[in-house]
Chain length 352, copies 4
């Protein structure tokens, strides 16, 4: 099916930092395609945890941010043209975006950390966009564009947590918190890899989702505020090999109680806030003989490795998408919905 190359693109720009009203939709001419660029007709996007897409328009984002940037880091689409030096893709290929466009492999560095899509570099919330050929990966076979659009941030982050420092092994224990995007992918990746999962949540409804995904044990953290002890009990006193920590100071003390000696707590976010006078300090690393690691999504080679895992385990690793899918024009409503916390699974946008 021949795709005509459009002359213009509609795009959502972040024009200020006072709130979602600073997201502005406009239509602009498409610039000439660079030699090493790939022109993508965007088909779908997904939104991220509070600390990313939601806070960029709210002005709280700590990473590189170019004012006027096109919003959105997570998207999927179809290649409609390629620059003359492009080797990795051809017209008709289906692609997903790489979060940090410059993080191709190995450890992240400051240069790569400054290439976040929708932050430093124009993102995915547009009808057509040109991306560096190195900043895209093939859509995993068997996934729809909507499903592919959930991967760049949440899934790669979960994968990096489980494989980036100490590689998850079948039989190990993984602890996840809640049902945010990273946590859900964390449960799915762990189960597909033959690991065991303990998941915390505060809602019976979300517990059902976690159970369906295969979580071996589910702890209601409101009913068990001292859930770290419960985790010890479940693991015969040893603790878990991996914690995917998303809440920060509010849960860190329990995560530290939960972790095994030489286990890894991957610190993903601080949705529970960043300030807490009682939050535990680094002495705990020594007392628990454990490792804590902050991480920022992951590299293209990690994403490719993850995509192979998804393709091979589609029955277990199909992305969970909230039942409410938004239209491109209704982006602000989508952000409000994500902000409300009512969603279960990724909040997605159908672009075309």
């Amino acid at each position: 099916m021949a795709q005509e190359i459009p002359k213009t693109t509609k795009q959502w720009k972040v024009t200020g930092t006072s709130g979602f009203d600073d997201l502005k939709l406009s239509e602009v001419p498409l610039p000439e395609l660079g030699d090493a660029q790939v022109l993508v007709k965007m088909r779908a996007a997904s939104l991220n945890l509070q600390y990313r897409d939601l806070i960029i328009p709210k002005g709280q984002y700590g990473f590189a941010f170019s004012p006027g940037v096109v919003a959105g880091s997570d998207g999927a689409g179809e290649v409609i043209a390629v620059g003359k030096h492009v080797k990795r893709f051809k017209k008709g290929d289906k692609v997903v975006t790489l979060f940090n466009q410059g993080h191709l492999g190995g450890d992240i560095d400051r240069a790569a950390a400054a290439t976040g899509l929708g932050g430093a570099i124009d993102g995915v919330l547009r009808t057509v966009g040109a991306f560096d050929e190195n900043g895209l990966v093939p859509l995993p076979e068997g996934l729809s564009f909507l499903e592919g659009a959930t991967l760049p941030c949440a899934a790669v982050t979960a994968w990096n947590a489980l494989y980036g420092l100490k590689r998850l092994t079948p039989g190990q224990w993984v602890l996840t918190q809640g049902t945010g995007g990273v946590s859900i992918f964390g449960v799915q990746f762990a189960k597909a890899a033959g690991a065991r999962v303990i998941a915390t949540t505060s809602s019976a409804d979300k517990a059902k989702l976690l159970e369906k995904l295969g979580a071996d044990h589910i702890i209601n953290y409101k009913e068990n505020p001292n859930w770290g002890s419960k985790v010890r009990e479940i693991t015969n006193g040893a603790g878990v090999d991996h914690v995917i920590e998303v809440a920060g100071p509010t849960s860190m003390a329990q995560s530290l109680k939960s972790i095994k000696m030489e286990g890894v707590i991957s610190i993903i976010g601080f949705v529970g806030g960043t300030q807490d006078p009682n939050q535990p300090g680094f002495l705990e690393n020594l007392l628990r003989m454990c490792t804590t690691r902050g991480l920022l999504v992951g590299s293209r080679s990690q994403m490719e490795e993850m995509c192979r895992a998804i393709e091979a385990n589609l029955d277990k690793l199909r992305p969970v998408i909230d039942s409410k899918v938004f239209k491109f024009e209704d982006l602000k409503e989508a952000y409000e919905y994500q902000w409300s916390g009512k969603h279960q699974g990724k909040v997605c946008i159908e672009i075309s």
Copy 2:
């Protein structure tokens, strides 16, 4: 249930190297238990591939072998007494033997390679035996003694192949050959870890077993003598990440065709013989940009890691035992049966 400590043990010794008739059953007094030893009432044993238990009595074994040694490397049983310095076990514990008694962790070395059970050190084919406390691991929860007895050689070897050099990752491809012990465990471990499996076999009957275990593709190597090309095709030209090579010169050329760049061919055995004027040489490592590795079972820490994987995935990792289980007294018949190649799954001995 109080176990009385017997005064004697019945044991099968390897008294010569001319064939199975050199296996002699005798009853001898139990020596005094050492400070660091654990006395185990043996409950079950399993036999190994031709190149191990079968060739020790046939005199073809290349590794350390002490004449008059008690036969058998793979056993499971119950602790009925412990020496006064023993810390790892207590009376009543259920245990499985470690193949190379001195290989506790890390790379194998010459000292550890000279501690094979049933070769250099008295083995498991006895009613009661004393083992060094370091040479045992707990029976995985949920396994019977018979099932546990299948693990020390075949399962640990398969685990070492998949995790000993380059760790298997979900989504990778694993190639296995036939339905010997190592190959079956290879299929099971790979599937439990979210990998994909291509298995070769020559029989429709065995193909059914492989399918049941989850193999994604099964190739009849008699019908497809050039099966390496088929493997390339299935993997879109890339090749597989891991080959578990058990046959040697007869299949090595096809394994080399099957392997991905930087993939690992784990060389387990040469059941297809050791001499072949046309067998490929090491130049192939360079032409294929691949790695080949010979391996000798695995360490205690690998076995413990594997046991955790088994406990967490009992539905997928339950050892496959041949329908014919032999009595302790009928050991020679068991060896003849294993030698015949008619079995499917491990050939096991019920000791008590």
Copy 3:
């Protein structure tokens, strides 16, 4: 030279927790040697950082401690007899002790962490002692007993910091703090491995020692309280790959400023105290994209790896021993001297 086996041993026991006066010297009969034990005529011992040997008699030790235990974790000596099942050593061998007697390889676990010599298990400050054969390693060739006695705690800890999680590579940057035992070994190991070292100190005198050991940059942290910025400057803004953190809350903020993205801060001790209301929290892991790891000495296989490194690099890795060496009888004075902080290099005891 034939060693006669003594009938008694003189030993320093920790009889209470109120201070160095609770160290008591006594002479007791030698118990019968176990089958798996090695009898060692102790020749030398070394003392550790404040947080270990010094605080056991002061009652502040957080790890496993058996009242009445023979003191001292770090010793070297000569084998004068072996139990009948001992395989690793023979009479005449020179040996060094393993800190956690049960930590043979792999990750430390709770069982292994409860086997500290001179804490949970009788230690090295005695004239003759029996040790489990697994709790000793050969004295590196070319080292004296005094030099060997410095290795079990400080050297293995430094090695674990540099090789236990992310392996040090030639060309990487390592930051060390002060001239305590772990820090000095840290400088030496890093330089012998082709890495670059930035060392902090507060004294011109100690700076000379660090320079002699090959430190590439030395920062006086009193003159540069904001030394993290200086480290950034030296490393062209990238930060260092490894920090060996010994001081805790007082220096952690600067260590965090110094660390590279994905770099590792190994948290060894809190000689700077454990309480500080302003100490940084785990949010810093996320903001710096770094890893922090608490560690407790290291395993026997790490120690063996380290000993090979020492043997191959004796010119660079000869242990630094304080000029004042104490007699066995003067143990309390040795502890007082170590406590005073006046030493440069390890404080050692000549036992025989």
Copy 4:
């Protein structure tokens, strides 16, 4: 110093495969610079082992080769212009070429293996050339252009051998063969990393060079055709951890005798020929419990890691260049000289 951008480039093309006379020098107009390209004024190049540059013009090269390609894979130069999307370099930067232009990180794959400079893609033997910004790395500080030009093939290959599969650790043993480019870098990297080196050679003259580079033991393989036994002896029977095998069938049997259990033989080349009816087969992997790996240079991230090691150890890692340096116009003589085998160190070309 302002560099004017030339209108033309002089270049050596490989026009056929019958010998060095198929190298043709011509002057052609420079094409327009691509958006993602970097224009480099070439300053120096180096030639490779027989099996690369020498055999391309002789028609024996097994890897991807485009007829009419500009020759040469190893070069260094100065950036004189950058395309408008280039981010990694700016005018004035000094750069070195990446051998496989598409091998940025991780395992090599078939796509990356088809991007060899001077084989599939226009190479370095030209006065000015445009390269993809991803196919260059900064010249290590402290190296001249000539020295930098020695790195892309030989040095990266040696680094990959020592760090690509099992990472070299201080105290390990490395065996190198002869004084070709890879072997010399192998000695240098091993010594800078605190390892021990056994080097073979057949000439007293070359032995002197090896000694100067720090080799701990030098074996004359002509005088000791059974040198594997000698290696065993030197290593107290254990064998070496790494062999860098360059000769192939002629030396492989001795390399196998030399290797430690679980050691790695990196198979770099077959300068000793590829056919030998008596060459050992893969059964040896099993008998020696060792790993053999074929490798093809290395990735950009390995090269960057290596460059940091060089910068930090310039005293030990300065590239060895043959005393005879050739002019750009005299390329054929340079090839003849390399072919003669009389050189010691890399044969280099001064381009401008």
